[in-house]
């Protein structure tokens, strides 16, 4: 489960609704301010609906694409237990995608439409999945750092103003903790292993640290949608707040592994009670977002291929259902 300040992505601006809707809008905002949940059939501003459709669908796409970098390790996991754990995790990600597409559908879009946007490349997904997973330690680092960052992003969404999204997120967060813990355990075993295994763990941390920090989205000063999303209680904390919290939680975990976080400027600020960290290379983030990351094309191609190769299964299931229905109808008539 992975969000990446997804509300940042996308070009459309958020309008306030026209004057006719002023009263409805005011009433809507009152409900949100009073921490009431908005449900599918309730009146809501168009911009709120659009923002949610974009954010929830990008979140769903991220779950689905997120199955790929780990899925390609299922056959190569070092033990049978690790294989079964990894399969369970990848299955969870598929399930999370299903919960989220359902939540998006309550806003009046169809799942087919959303999946179509993913496959034709017009929809975004978390750019973290456009990085490669060359070693087994990457599976550990993904669970620990990527799922860890995702949890940090997602826990506040459990209190999102939109009911179906909040409820899906409660279910997802419950399952996410297993993902992070199994990842850290892989890192722990490697960090306590042979010198070669330690090097592998360090190498994975080196490669995943900065992309994990970028998962929280652009710095607050560059984040155009944050204020509106916060007013609507779709978002509860700013990108920088969540990123800082992630660093504060994660650095001691890295220290325990006796691995070095790849940031020479990282230092504990006693007065602020926070870790200070170095500048993030946002040009890399923009490049990956634009489709020029190490694996953008490969990931989408794998997704399109899986969809096309599964077409006959979907067609057969539809045909079977029609036949059963016809038979049942023939029996009663």
């Amino acid at each position: 489960m992975y969000t990446q300040a997804l509300d940042q992505i996308g070009k459309e601006t958020l309008h306030t609704a026209c004057a006719d809707h002023a009263a409805l809008e005011a009433r809507f905002q009152q409900r949100v301010d009073a921490d009431e949940r908005i449900e599918p059939k309730d009146w809501m501003p168009d911009a709120y609906r659009r923002t949610l459709i974009r954010q929830i669908s990008q979140h769903a796409h991220s779950e689905i694409v997120g199955m790929l970098p780990e899925g390609n390790w299922i056959t190569r996991a070092p033990t049978l237990l690790r294989k079964t754990i990894l399969m369970a995790k990848v299955q969870d990600e598929g399930g999370h995608g299903a919960y989220l597409y359902s939540a998006a559908e309550t806003l009046g879009v169809s799942r087919d439409e959303l999946i179509g946007q993913l496959l034709d490349g017009s929809a975004k997904y978390s750019s973290i999945f456009n990085y490669p997973t060359p070693t087994w330690a990457d599976v550990g680092a993904i669970g620990w750092l990527v799922d860890g960052a995702a949890i940090m992003n997602q826990i506040p969404i459990c209190r999102c103003s939109y009911g179906p999204y909040a409820r899906a997120m409660v279910r997802i967060c419950k399952e996410e903790s297993f993902h992070q813990r199994q990842g850290y355990e892989i890192m722990l075993r490697l960090a306590q292993g042979t010198p070669e295994q330690r090097r592998m763990a360090q190498d994975a941390l080196n490669r995943w640290w900065w992309p994990a920090l970028m998962m929280f989205g652009p710095p607050d000063v560059d984040s155009s949608h944050t204020a509106q999303s916060m007013r609507w209680k779709i978002k509860r904390f700013s990108n920088d707040e969540l990123r800082q919290k992630f660093v504060d939680f994660t650095v001691p975990q890295a220290n325990f592994l006796d691995l070095k976080v790849p940031d020479d400027e990282l230092a504990w600020d006693e007065q602020a009670q926070h870790y200070r960290f170095g500048a993030i290379d946002w040009s890399e983030f923009q490049q990956v977002l634009k489709g020029n990351g190490p694996c953008n094309r490969e990931r989408l191609a794998a997704r399109v291929c899986a969809h096309e190769e599964g077409a006959w299964v979907r067609e057969a299931a539809t045909a079977h259902a029609r036949k059963q229905e016809a038979r049942a109808y023939a029996q009663v008539s």
Partner: protein, 96 residues
């Protein structure tokens, strides 16, 4: 993707333990009731979340309109005498 466009939506209800009500947990697309049941099991009960499942076609659910909620539920609003606490009884009377 046109081949899956017709897959109906089913709402999923789970009884977490014997003795409890079935509770709505989400929805799923499936070609028929049997597939809905199997997919609901795989998607919503991977961690023993339930001992019984109901799947209901979403189109078969008739819901009240939130826009009319005030008027629709209004008849119950002024009938406070339906609650036991409405009745002020002397404290020395027991077991009432």
């Amino acid at each position: 993707m046109s081949e899956s466009r017709d897959w109906p939506l089913y709402e999923i209800f789970i009884r977490a333990r014997g003795g409890l009500d079935h509770k709505h947990v989400g929805s799923i697309h499936a070609t028929d009731a049997r597939m809905a049941m199997e997919h609901a099991r795989d998607v919503y009960t991977r961690r023993q979340e339930g001992v019984s499942l109901w799947v209901v076609k979403s189109t078969d659910i008739i819901a009240s309109d939130p826009a009319d909620a005030d008027a629709f539920f209004e008849p119950a609003r002024d009938k406070i005498y339906r609650h036991p606490t409405f009745y002020d009884l002397p404290p020395e009377v027991k077991t009432l």
